[in-house]
Structure formats: C-alpha cells, structure tokens
C-alpha cells in the first residue's frame, strides 16, 4: 500500500514536470488537421495521434527557417564564453581557495553575490555600453556580457571544488623542489580537471538558457541564438507555426537536459553555499 502511494506520487510529479515536453513531442509530429482541431470539440482527443505522425514540421524547421543558423550562432557564443570563463574563473577560484588566506573566503562570497544581480537590472546600462562600443546587434555584445553571469558562479564552483581536493599533493610537489608557481602550472591542472569540466558545462547551459540580453541586443533574425530565435522569430506576424516551434523547443531541450542531469549534483553544491555540509 505504501509502495503504491509512493509510485503514484512519483508519477504525479513526473506528469506535472514532464507534461509540457510530452506536449512538445506530440505537437512536433502531428499533422496539421490533427493539430488544429479546437478544444471545443470534445470528441477529438488531443492527447494522442489521431492521424499518423508526420515529419512535415521538422522539415519546415530545418529547411525553411534559420534554426540551423541560430544553432551555429549559439555555438560561437558558447565557445567564446566558455574560453573566457575558464581562463578567468579557474585561476580566481584557485587563488581564493589556496592563496589568499582568510579573506579569500569572504571575497569569494562577495563575488558570488554578484551572481544575484540579475540581467533585468543591468540590461538598461548595458544598452548604453553596447551602443558606446558599437556592438549593437552583434554576437560580440553577448560574448562580452555573458561572462558577467558565468564568472561569479564558476569562481565559486572552483573554490568549493578545491575544498574537496587534498592539499598533500601540492605540498609534496613543493617539498620536491617545485616553486609555488610551478606547482600551479604543472601539478594543479591535473587535479582540478573535474572542476574545470563543471565550469565548462555550467557556462554552456547558461549561455543556451539566456534570453534577456539576447532579446535586448540582437535584432536581426540571422544573428539570433536558439533561445531567442525560436520564440521570437518563428512567429511570423500573428501566425504561430506550432509544429515547427515545438520541434525546435524539443530538439534544444533534450540534449541540454541530458547534460544537466550528469552535472546537477555539482551545481547544487554551489547553490547550497555550505548550508548543506556533505
């Protein structure tokens, strides 16, 4: 009896969480005459395929829209932002964890708090900055600004990660005659590869999810990222191509969700701020 309740509850939560994705799936592959039947008609069941599934919407998405272009744009921004974030946040996290002593922790907290300052507070001053730099409607604006979101969180992640890396190996290397700098350059990178990987994945997911700055700075359809182009540019005037829209949402969400699942525990360690002692 208790087991039944457990499974029922688990299914309930899955249904609530997963329902929009089921709806994306079924919409993406339904024929139009099966899709656009008003919900007034209680005899037509919208939850299932009443006609055979079709690839018509997928073909439309890949053949007649800028979807592939948006994916390419997103990848350009992702690569640039990941490189900047790793180059800046990893040394900073190491410095705060190992080199700066007691005030490192406090400074780390300070940097983390800047993560709480939201894009919706900063997009107006950035509009001015981007205009000054002549970066309007350019991926350059996103590459410059996205690290403001990734660096604070990733510095914090690396700092937290290093707490779980024993100090012995670095100490031993110094006893063996390495200078402090040589330890950092030659020994440390091997130790923190998992931490760097987390930074890469987190930056990647963050860039894919970002909407506010992209909406503010990118106006041409051919320069949009996926998360901007799909909801904004796939809607032509008042015409929503729901099949293609949902196909795009589905194809973007699922790979992201898989990556996210693999790394969720590390992200959560960052969010819980030490309120959870492992």
């Amino acid at each position: 009896m208790k087991r039944v309740a457990l499974y029922a509850a688990a299914l309930g939560f899955m249904a609530f969480a997963g329902f929009p994705f089921y709806w994306m799936l079924i919409t993406a592959f339904k024929q139009n005459r099966d899709l656009y039947v008003g919900a007034f008609d209680t005899r037509h069941v919208p939850w299932i395929f009443n006609d055979p599934p079709t690839l018509e919407h997928v073909r439309l998405l890949f053949g007649q829209t800028d979807f592939l272009r948006w994916i390419a744009n997103t990848l350009i921004v992702v690569v640039a932002v990941v490189v900047i974030t790793v180059a800046v946040a990893v040394p900073a996290g190491y410095s705060l964890a190992r080199l700066t002593g007691r005030w490192g922790e406090r400074l780390g907290m300070g940097i983390f708090f800047t993560y709480l300052i939201p894009p919706t507070l900063l997009f107006i001053p950035f509009a001015r900055l981007v205009a000054l730099l002549g970066l309007q409607n350019s991926l350059g604006a996103l590459i410059l600004i996205y690290p403001t979101i990734t660096i604070p969180f990733c510095t914090w992640l690396v700092m937290g990660f290093l707490r779980s890396v024993p100090w012995d190996i670095e100490e031993q290397a110094m006893i063996d005659g390495y200078s402090r700098l040589a330890v950092i350059v030659k020994v440390v990178p091997r130790l923190i590869i998992p931490g760097i990987l987390t930074v890469v994945v987190f930056s990647f997911t963050l860039v894919l999810q970002e909407f506010v700055y992209a909406l503010t700075f990118i106006s041409s359809v051919d320069r949009m990222t996926v998360s901007l182009g799909v909801p904004i540019a796939l809607v032509r005037g008042d015409v929503y191509h729901w099949g293609a829209l949902m196909a795009a949402a589905l194809f973007t969400s699922i790979p992201l969700a898989i990556v996210y699942n693999l790394f969720i525990d590390r992200f959560i360690q960052g969010f819980t701020l030490g309120a959870v002692k492992g």
């Binding site: 929009p20 994705f21 946040a89 040394p91 402090r180 909407f211 969720i264």
Partner: protein, 299 residues
C-alpha cells in the same frame, strides 16, 4: 635567488595576479553597470542619443503615479509569493518521494529536472501553446472531465493570466528546489532521525517536528534563489502575455523592457528596474545570515 624565483614563491602576489582578471571583469561589467543603473534612473537618457541630462526624481515621480507601474509592482509581488509558496509545498513533498528507492528512479529524476534544464524562453513558448485560447489541452481535459462548462481564456483575462504565470514560474523552479532539499535531507544527522524512530515518532510526526525544522535553512536557500529567479524574470511574462491584455499582467522586468528598451526611455526603464533592488537586498541579507548561522552551528 633571482627576482623571478621570489615572485614564483610569493603566495600573496600570485594570489592577487590570479584573482585580478576575475575581479576586473566583475568590477567593470557588473559593478560599474550596477551603479550606472541607479544613476540612469535619475537621468533623461534615451536610447537614441548618448546625451545625458539630470532629471532628479522626475522618473520616479512619473512611475509612482502611473497605474500600470503600480500594477506591475503588485503583480511581481503576487507572482513571486504565490509561486514560491507552491514551490515550498511541491519541493518538500517531491523530496520525500525522491529520497526513497524505487524502480525507474533515474528516469523519474530525469523527467523531474527537465523544467529546470530547459531554456526559460522555450518553456514559456510551450506553455503559451498549452494555454492557447482555441486549442488549450487544459480546457479540453477539464471539459471532458466535466469540470468546465464555460471556457477559460487563460492568457486573455488578467486574473487567469496571473494564475498561469504563477503556475509556470512554480513549475520552472520546483525541480531545482527539490534537488536542494534532497541534498539537505541527505546531510541530516542520522542519530537524531534514529532517536526519533526509537522514541516511536511516526512518519508525519518525524516530518513536521524533526525533519522540517532541521531542513529550514536548506528550504530557505531554495526559496531565496527562487525569489530572485521569479521576481527578476523577464522571459515567462514577455512570451506568455507580453504584459497584456491592456498592460494588466506586466511585472517589473517586462515593464522596464517596454519603457526602457522598446520605448527608448532609458531613464524611466532604469527607475522601474531599480524597484527590483528591495527583493535582492532582502535575499542577500537573508543569505548572509544563513551562511553565518550555519558556520556557527558547524564549528
């Protein structure tokens, strides 16, 4: 020993050198814009030109007497509180389920985390379709179940639209809160739980008198992030309703965007966005207190 050699062993200098790029980035591209956000709210700046005129409190006077702004402020509070109440209930319940071992748990966890992983704009467009005035599957299901006799225009009626927005925000954030609460559950002191069982406390007693009080700091962390994510979110409202019908469902971020970016009135947009600060300050103070509290508790 050469100078270079000495630098290579000076921890403080190395520390500063490695920290400098991150500090520089954060100061220049978060700190300066943050100050500029406040300065702009006292200015007559527009998006078209780079001129900059002092406006005093004119922008604030204008928005405070503007019913659309007041509505947006109220909506932000309503949606934030409403969705976070839902999140607390859903997340503590879901955590109780997902701490147990059962078949297919990995798949279940994958589905549970989907709303948190998906880009907010794509989730919002899916919900827009789900709430469609003609094709809403929710209406169909309610009608077939005999629960609905008229018709629900989810995004066309101000009150219903706020309900829809609140549901979407709760849906988006509860998986994240669940995982945080689960992490908290895993770290509860086992001896306390065992003592409660030995003393004969049943499931509900243990839940309400032992676990939930111990979990409070963790639930608080989840809610604090939830407040920031909801109050400052632009995507959900922008895509679901665009602030409509008739500017009744705006929240602060969408109104700031409409006035500041689309309407090119940077000064007024900045003034609207500044009203997000109280939310953030409350959250920051609460987090600092929590961090200090747990530090004291653990040492």
């Amino acid at each position: 020993m050469s100078l270079r050699r000495r630098f290579a062993d000076r921890e403080d200098l190395l520390g500063i050198a490695m920290l400098a790029p991150a500090l520089g980035y954060v100061l220049l591209l978060v700190g300066v814009p943050f100050v500029l956000a406040i300065v702009l709210s006292f200015s007559t700046a527009t998006a078209g030109s780079l001129s900059f005129g002092w406006a005093g409190f004119a922008n604030y006077a204008a928005i405070l007497t503007d019913p659309i702004f007041r509505r947006a402020l109220a909506n932000t509070v309503i949606v934030t509180i409403g969705s976070q109440l839902l999140v607390v209930v859903l997340a503590t319940a879901a955590a109780q389920v997902f701490r147990a071992a059962f078949h297919g748990k990995r798949a279940a966890r994958f589905v549970l985390l989907l709303p948190w992983a998906v880009p907010v704009s794509l989730a919002a467009i899916a919900w827009t379709w789900i709430f469609d005035s003609t094709f809403s599957v929710i209406n169909w299901t309610l009608k077939v179940a005999g629960l609905l006799h008229g018709w629900l225009y989810w995004l066309g009626e101000p009150r219903l639209a706020l309900v829809a927005i609140t549901i979407v925000q709760a849906w988006r954030i509860f998986p994240f809160a669940t995982v945080i609460v689960l992490a908290g559950l895993a770290s509860l002191p086992q001896d306390v739980m065992e003592a409660a069982i030995v003393d004969g406390a049943g499931f509900w007693r243990r839940l309400f008198y032992v676990e939930l009080p111990l979990l409070l700091p963790v639930v608080a962390v989840a809610v604090l992030f939830g407040v920031v994510y909801t109050a400052t979110d632009l995507g959900v409202v922008y895509i679901l309703t665009g602030g409509g019908p008739a500017n009744t469902t705006h929240v602060l971020p969408t109104l700031a965007f409409q006035r500041g970016i689309q309407g090119a009135d940077l000064g007024q947009g900045a003034a609207i966005a500044v009203f997000l600060l109280p939310f953030l300050i409350v959250v920051a103070i609460a987090m600092l207190r929590l961090a200090r509290h747990t530090e004291v508790g653990s040492t």
